[in-house]
């Protein structure tokens, strides 16, 4: 397993407001490079907000503001000199609903490299191929790269979206309930693929499925009502939670 040294995320006293409504309360958490972190917690507790803060997608909602800092490796991501587009290429994102652009399979994956100035040709083809391989979808699409991406099944579309994010060669990969709209078979493929990616890219995954969190993550963070309640080794958190709220959640007594 290749262990990357880039892609460390550190939130310090980080709070987010949507208008007057506070969604995150002074969250402090360090995510080591190359690990897979699962974010769990009841609906509305701020998982997506924390995830989207990693690549500044929260800013797209008008009226949001934040306090505190987020460091990617050694840089503060909100610093004035930070180019948010470059940040989003270093911190890739996969959404709950697969969202390929209405173009061909190849075009979808080629977007990122093209944006970085990779010209059409063998280098671009190589980048696309490698990304599709890493996302474990190459075998299914190799002979129909020019077909519309929307003609793929839901599970294939979602892996295509992962490939699209990987084509930017990101240090961090964010996933917001990536398998919640998929059947068990497609879910398993995604989980296997995430398992294989471990070590080469930092993964932050939001999930409502605790078994899934246990299967794909090294560490798990439990959020409740916008606050980070507990974070620790996944196996430890699920077997010996330190906080009563965590225990209540993982034993299904609420949320």
């Amino acid at each position: 397993m290749i262990v990357t040294t880039a892609g460390a995320l550190r939130f310090t006293d980080f709070s987010v407001w949507y208008g007057a409504r506070q969604a995150l309360h002074t969250v402090t958490i360090a995510i080591e490079p190359g690990i897979a972190l699962a974010l769990i917690g009841p609906s509305g507790c701020g998982k997506s907000t924390l995830l989207r803060a990693c690549n500044r997608m929260t800013e797209l909602v008008p009226g949001t503001r934040h306090t505190g800092t987020v460091h990617l490796d050694d840089g503060e991501i909100h610093a004035r000199e930070v180019d948010v587009r470059a940040l989003r290429q270093r911190v890739g994102m996969v959404f709950q609903q697969s969202n390929p652009l209405p173009r061909s399979i190849f075009e979808n994956v080629a977007y990122g490299p093209r944006l970085n100035g990779v010209p059409d040709g063998s280098e671009l083809t190589d980048r696309v191929t490698e990304a599709l391989r890493r996302a474990a979808i190459w075998d299914e699409v190799a002979d129909r790269l020019d077909d519309p991406a929307l003609a793929l099944s839901g599970g294939q579309q979602q892996r295509l979206c992962i490939a699209r994010a990987l084509a930017n060669d990101p240090e961090v990969l964010l996933l917001d309930e990536p398998a919640s709209a998929l059947d068990p078979g497609a879910t398993q493929r995604i989980e296997e693929l995430l398992y294989d990616l471990r070590g080469s890219v930092t993964i932050v995954i939001v999930t409502h499925n605790l078994q899934q969190a246990a299967r794909v993550s090294d560490r798990t963070a439990f959020l409740y009502d916008g606050r980070l309640v507990e974070v620790g080794e996944t196996s430890a958190l699920f077997t010996r939670p330190r906080e009563a709220q965590t225990e209540a959640f993982i034993t299904g007594r609420f949320g």
Binding site: M57, L60, R88, M93, F95, N99, Y111, L115, L152, A165
Partner: protein, 314 residues
């Protein structure tokens, strides 16, 4: 329920039981209700059908009349010659057809880019003060009678230069076109799922490229449809041309001079006492109808392509 069961339980005579079990008056009641509902249903269907037929009747009559009276005017000369009072046929309306094309061309070149850009802005920045004001103004403009636009165009485009011209006519039509196109563009662009925009932004797309490459491209067939429908609409406008393009009995392709136009020709010749010119008016009306219908068909085809594209594989 109980009344169906009780006779059996009480051991009532079989003759009575037969009257009161499922075939009894309750079911008869039920079937009467069903019959009544069926009748109401048929009546309602009939009403709706006749309503639709009534609404379509004038349309069918107009088209029928235009086809009958208009086709009598159609000939090669009709499309190639100028109006000529000395001929029994009245000559042709080549100048009006060409003039309309020029006017609509000018209006499209000016109005479509502005309208589409405005619509794109409205859809991507829906809540800014500028958007709110321009949306309101567009709606007001769309409701203003076109003769008012004509008067406005005369004041702004004709009076300062001192003469009628194709420029003025085209600009008047453009003034009509912009708000129409802006609103339809806004509608179709805001139908582009926000997930697509987020996908592009999360990949590191700059905002402007997201707008152009993702939003605009996805919405393009819808925008084209809206534009075509709007162009078809302004192609038939008469009032804004009355004191701008003014009309011209002779051949002119100069944008700086008064110019003939189909709606103006129809307006002028339909009311003339000469039968030949009246026939020309019918022919002109038919050509206008075919033009508008043709644009609508193209627009429909474009829409269908968009639907099949979005629907593919989902």
């Amino acid at each position: 329920m109980s009344s169906i069961v009780s006779p059996t339980v009480l051991g009532a005579p079989s003759g009575r039981r037969e009257r009161r079990v499922p075939g009894g008056h309750e079911l008869a009641n039920a079937s009467r209700t069903a019959q009544r509902r069926q009748r109401t249903d048929r009546l309602a269907t009939l009403l709706i059908w006749s309503g639709a037929a009534l609404a379509l009747l004038p349309l069918a009559l107009i088209i029928g009349l235009l086809l009958v009276r208009g086709s009598a005017a159609l000939s090669v000369a009709f499309f190639t010659e100028l109006p000529d009072l000395s001929l029994p046929s009245g000559g042709g309306i080549a100048n009006a057809i060409a003039g309309s094309a020029l006017l609509v061309g000018i209006a499209s070149l000016m109005g479509l880019p502005i309208g589409i850009a405005a619509g794109l802005h409205l859809a991507t920045h829906p809540h800014t003060r500028l958007s709110r004001i321009s949306r309101y103004l567009s709606d007001v403009l769309n409701g203003v009678p076109s003769i008012v636009i004509g008067v406005f165009a005369w004041e702004v485009f004709v009076r300062p230069v001192g003469h009628f011209s194709a420029w003025a006519g085209g600009l008047a039509l453009a003034v009509l076109l912009v708000p129409l196109v802006a609103r339809t563009t806004e509608t179709v662009v805001s139908l582009v799922p926000v997930e697509l925009t987020e996908a592009a932004l999360a990949l590191g797309f700059p905002r402007w490229r997201t707008s152009l490459q993702v939003v605009l491209r996805t919405a393009l067939p819808g925008i084209v449809t809206g534009a075509l429908v709007a162009v078809a609409r302004i192609a038939g406008e008469t009032a804004p041309l009355l004191f701008t393009a003014f009309g011209n009995a002779f051949w002119s392709m100069s944008p700086d001079e008064p110019i003939a136009a189909l709606p103006l020709t129809i307006y002028a010749y339909a009311g003339s006492p000469y039968e030949g010119w009246q026939t020309l008016a019918w022919g002109g009306a038919l050509v206008l109808l075919l033009l508008v219908a043709g644009l609508s068909v193209v627009a429909r085809l474009a829409t269908r392509r968009q639907l099949s594209r979005v629907g593919a594989g989902r």
